[in-house]
Symmetry: C2
Subunit: 305 residues, 2 copies
């Protein structure tokens, strides 16, 4: 990916993020919905701090672009993208807690438990996870109930004990358990891969696409999820904290096994090329419509922050 291509893609990311941020801001305001009693201001402020923090919104972008392959309506896809971003942000809030990764900064800002306190951060994460399922199940998402239920189920399977949360558990144990190569791959597929896979699959679900398309998009998501993690591990070895807006070199310092540590950066770069090729091949049937998703695969593999 040339520097120009990367800048063009980042501009597309930013453009896509604008309506998403507007929606997230509305979903996180103080107004109660039917069935709610009151939204405590401090809790809502902590949720907004954890969500409206200048993230790149890669996962929402993947939902939007995947759904666009099948000409899905934009509004439902945007709500699904917002739900997914709530889950991603909740996971960051909880992972940053002192009992977990104990991070003070994220994207150049204090983490939620530093800006508020631990209890508020735990509750803000809990509420964001709950809100994600609220958004998906709501008739306001304007999808048939069958698709809303399918999205809830797929997100729960991608985020739960058998995937994302389980991956964080394995990651915390990794310093002790020293997983082998297969173990590292599984851990990463769970911790970061499953949600990226869901992002791509969700676009097909929103659109009511046939199951072979749903599977193809999920596979594309798995490929770029792997690339995402490899690029992250490579970056952790080579970048400095200023570039990342958070602490770096922590994995190596903690003695955590990564594939990059195991095989070296040259191997990792080769793997990244292979994964991008694989991701592009999966998108072949969609032709020109998949141009931005193809760029997303390159962006993920080449990202430097």
């Amino acid at each position: 990916m040339t520097k120009d291509d990367q800048m063009a893609f980042e501009a597309a990311l930013i453009a896509r993020a604008v309506p998403l941020e507007t929606l997230l801001r509305r979903l996180l305001d103080g107004r109660t919905l039917s069935g709610e009693i009151a939204r405590p201001e401090r809790l809502m402020a902590a949720m907004r701090h954890g969500v409206l923090n200048g993230g790149k919104r890669l996962r929402p972008f993947l939902v939007m672009e995947s759904s666009a392959l099948f000409s899905a309506d934009v509004e439902p896809a945007l709500r699904v993208a917002a739900a997914l971003e709530c889950v991603h942000c909740y996971s960051l809030i909880h992972d940053d807690l002192p009992a977990m990764d104990d991070d003070d900064m994220r994207r150049g800002q204090p983490t939620v438990h530093r800006a508020f306190d631990e209890a508020t951060a735990i509750l803000a994460g809990d509420a964001l996870l709950t809100l994600a399922f609220d958004i998906l199940a709501d008739e306001a998402t304007m999808l048939p109930a069958e698709r809303r239920a399918a999205l809830v189920l797929a997100l729960a399977r991608a985020a739960g004990a058998g995937s994302m949360v389980g991956g964080q558990m394995l990651d915390l144990e990794a310093e002790q358990s020293r997983p082998d190569e297969a173990g590292i791959i599984r851990l990463q597929a769970m911790k970061t891969g499953a949600l990226i896979r869901f992002a791509c699959e969700a676009g097909a679900i929103v659109a009511g696409a046939p199951s072979r398309d749903r599977e193809r998009l999920a596979e594309f998501g798995s490929a770029i999820g792997l690339a995402f993690q490899l690029a992250d591990d490579l970056l952790d070895l080579t970048a400095d904290a200023h570039q990342m807006g958070k602490a770096t070199g922590k994995d190596a310092a903690a003695g955590k096994a990564t594939l990059v540590a195991l095989h070296g950066p040259d191997w990792a770069r080769d793997q990244l090329h292979g994964l991008v090729d694989q991701a592009h091949a999966l998108l072949e049937p969609y032709g020109e419509q998949a141009a931005l998703l193809k760029q997303a695969a390159q962006f993920v593999a080449a990202r430097n922050n």
Copy 2:
């Protein structure tokens, strides 16, 4: 409620809990479901510790009995009951954390963060909340997608920032903010009332009952939710730790405002009688079929542990 009536009702509770515990044990075993990658054993053990701990299963009982009023199938109702219990247990695990209420014991056993560690307790709670929505949305719950989505939405609204999680936030702030009577009532309706209300309403949703029945059951749930909290506050003033299996007198020691502290125990007992009468009146249309739900209202108001 006579001592004999109470014992008879407790026997009914225990009988109802048996198939629920069997289902919960199966839902929390190590086998992965479609879309999951692996279930880490330590995480699953922590989830089981938090769920399979001899709870009275009052909320599941309310789901089962409410759904029985409308002759709903037992299997779907049981899965909804299990989902609700996962949410209840996750909230206890997180509430017990050092950053929150900092409790070491629950039902005579070490709390999850004491039996495991803080990080594992946070993740076990997260995974249980996620699992609840998984269970509701799954086709295995054997309900039309419309009802599965409605259950997800109603549970999310009862458990989220505007209800249960928000109530815990207000409770943490209560020592500082010193809420007035209206504030205490709102806090308690959010923290404990909303989930009990959902339990009763869910029975009507499972059965596809008309909306006037759904509202009636929800109102019944609100009445016994209020009674539950009043009885709890009364107990906190009068019981000892041995009877409760957890620390008592903490509210008073922390200077937390409760309605019982405000108006005294005699007032609270009068209120409890009024709430039971109100709950019974709401069940009149259902005649003899509501006998156990009526007893549940009395049990909640009279409970001493």
